[in-house]
Amino acid sequence: MAERVLACAPCHGAHGEGTSNPYYPRLANKPAGYLANQLLAFRDGRRRYAPMNYLLEFQRDDYLREMAAYFAALQPPAPPRPPVGVSQEVLAQGQELVTKGAPDRGIPPCVACHGPRLTGMEPAIPALIGLNSQYISAQLGAWRYGTRTAIAPDCMQLIAAHLTEADVTAIAAWLASQPVPPDARPVAAGTLRMPLHCGSEPQ
């Protein structure tokens, strides 16, 4: 399988560990269901990024699921990430939003669905640690502008719509500043009671 997915290596690393380029995410150890949802969404155009849409356009469901399972099972160490370069104040605001949310503005905390250690939940909620801040803010932006969509109900689209630019900067910076624990496995399916119903995570 490693040879079949060499096409992924220049941007995501030979073992899906991620690269120094801030816009290409780590794939390794993310829940297989999440990765499969993304591959299918890129193929079918629900998520728009031309180089990915192009690569996957003519692949079959089974094969995309196999690729997802392959990367989900890998556990390479995370490459070093650049410092985020924002003030302590901004980081504190990010931590507040990630761990407590902003109930008065309809924003649930990230940890409610992505897990107390932010390592995600099986089968389809991804880890939020181990990613660069540029990648995270680009994804939140993509939800607001509709270039990234998920199976309805698209709960992340609802949440992203409530976030301000400053919220996005703070959340992305704090998440990117967190170390990846040695065992960064997602928590088991159904462990967390999610505040929203999400189409991509069976409940």
Binding site: E3, R4, V5, L6, A7, C8, A9, P10, C11, N21, D44, G45, R46, A50, P51, N53, Y54, L55, L56, E57, F58, Q59, R60, D62, Y63, E66
Partner: protein, 419 residues
């Protein structure tokens, strides 16, 4: 199973006659299951679904944007919806559209619809395709108006185009050739509409019969559909029938693999054809003219620059390519295509080779090759100079006789469309 289907068809007929006595739906509604299956197969061979389905849209509901140098056309709804689709058409009208390029009201159809090819399809095959389309779910989706620039938005201009490029008539078998050859020619020239891309397109957007299958740049896509008549390009004269059949059905072969627009053709259409039909196409394709054309005049690169490119190219090749394609360029077919002695690498124009380095690509996932190996994209990691150097290297190493590539050419193709 047959009796209930006919009973159901009869009931449907009664209902529709009662609602709309003017609609003549009798013939298609009575089509039997075997005809519908045959029609499905033929519709695959014609790849109707590729253009008449929008990305993420319902099958045959149309609306796929087709950018042309003259503006954007949108494919039409060919589902059996009575208002927006072909639900009220008769088999005669459907055949008339396929055979003459005119819609039921006599209107002229833009030649983005390959009626110059479909005119070769027999009445019986057209009827089967029509029966199949009517058996699919109706989609109540209006057709999107075309966005053509003046003066191309005047359909009367199609009359002039037709005079130059359209020759109406069902395929006539060549009695001097085998049945297999004739079957292949019928599929390639007719439903397969291969000449739509594999012939030069002139300024009027037409392909001339005298230059059929001589290769052409696909407008707006920046991919080159190589000549099928020149062995110096994708001419198949030196390929075995098995290699040609493999390429058509599986998308990969001992000689090379399909990417880009041809991957779509294999994915949507050719992988579903029978062994016999694929082989017939191979027999015909192999027989197409085999003389090498005089090479296109590419921009010359001074010898000194060319030798610098070769040095850098060899270094890049060793670091990025040799682990799969081999230091000797022989690859490991069918998963890693050979580069040595591969005309699709050395042919002019070199757009396909450059784009493969920039964008990478997967051959289509097919029944015969469900888990293809992918080529990585290098647009993100290689500079224009490195792309030009490595493409120059693979075009000239191992006895290959392609011309050198400039960094400027590589740079231009970075912005080639990916969809």
């Amino acid at each position: 199973m047959r009796a209930p289907r006919i009973a159901l068809a009869a009931a449907a007929l009664t209902l529709s006659l009662w609602h709309a006595p003017a609609a003549a739906v009798a013939a298609p509604a009575q089509a039997d299951a075997a005809t519908i299956r045959q029609g499905e197969y033929l519709a695959r061979a014609g790849d109707c679904i590729a253009c008449h389905t929008a990305p993420g849209g319902k099958p045959f509901a149309g609306g796929r944007a087709m950018p042309t140098p003259f503006g954007t056309l949108y494919s039409s709804n060919i589902s059996p919806d009575p208002e927006y689709g072909i639900g009220r058409w008769t088999a005669d009208q459907f055949y008339g559209m396929m055979h003459t390029g005119r819609s039921p009201d006599g209107g002229l159809i833009y030649p983005a619809m390959p009626f110059p090819n479909y005119t070769k399809v027999t009445r019986q095959d057209c009827d089967a395709i029509f029966a199949y389309l009517l058996s699919e779910p109706a989609v109540h989706q209006p057709n999107r108006p075309n966005e053509l620039q003046f003066p191309y938005n005047n359909r009367q201009l199609i009359l002039g185009w037709r005079t130059l490029f359209f020759h109406e008539g069902t395929y006539q078998p060549d009695p001097a050739k085998s049945d297999e050859w004739n079957r292949g020619a019928y599929l390639v020239e007719g439903l397969g509409h291969c000449s739509m891309c594999h012939s030069p397109i002139n300024a009027l957007g037409g392909t001339s019969a005298s230059q059929a299958f001589q290769g052409g740049l696909i407008p707006m896509q920046d991919w080159y559909a190589p000549s099928l008549t020149s062995n110096a390009q994708a001419g198949l004269g030196e390929w075995s029938l098995e290699e040609i059949s493999d390429l058509l059905r599986k998308g990969v072969s001992a000689r090379g693999a399909v990417y880009g627009p041809m991957a779509e053709v294999v994915f949507n259409s050719l992988q579903y054809l029978t062994d016999a039909d694929t082989r017939a196409m191979a027999v015909y394709l192999k027989s197409l003219g085999q003389e090498a054309l005089p090479p296109h005049a590419g921009a010359p690169v001074p010898p000194r620059e060319s030798s610098l490119l070769m040095d850098l190219g060899k270094t890049v090749y060793g670091a990025q390519c040799a682990s799969c394609h081999g230091a000797d360029g022989r690859g490991r077919p069918p998963d890693y295509p050979p580069l040595a002695g591969n005309p699709s690498i050395t042919m002019d124009p070199a757009v396909n080779a450059i784009r493969m380095v920039l964008n990478g690509g997967y051959p289509p996932g097919t029944q015969g090759n469900p888990r293809p190996y992918g080529m990585p994209p290098f647009a993100q990691t290689l500079s224009d100079d490195e792309v030009a150097a490595v493409v120059t290297y693979i075009r000239r190493a191992w006895g290959n006789s392609g011309t050198a590539i400039t960094a400027q050419r590589a740079n231009t193709l970075r912005s080639a469309p990916l969809d």
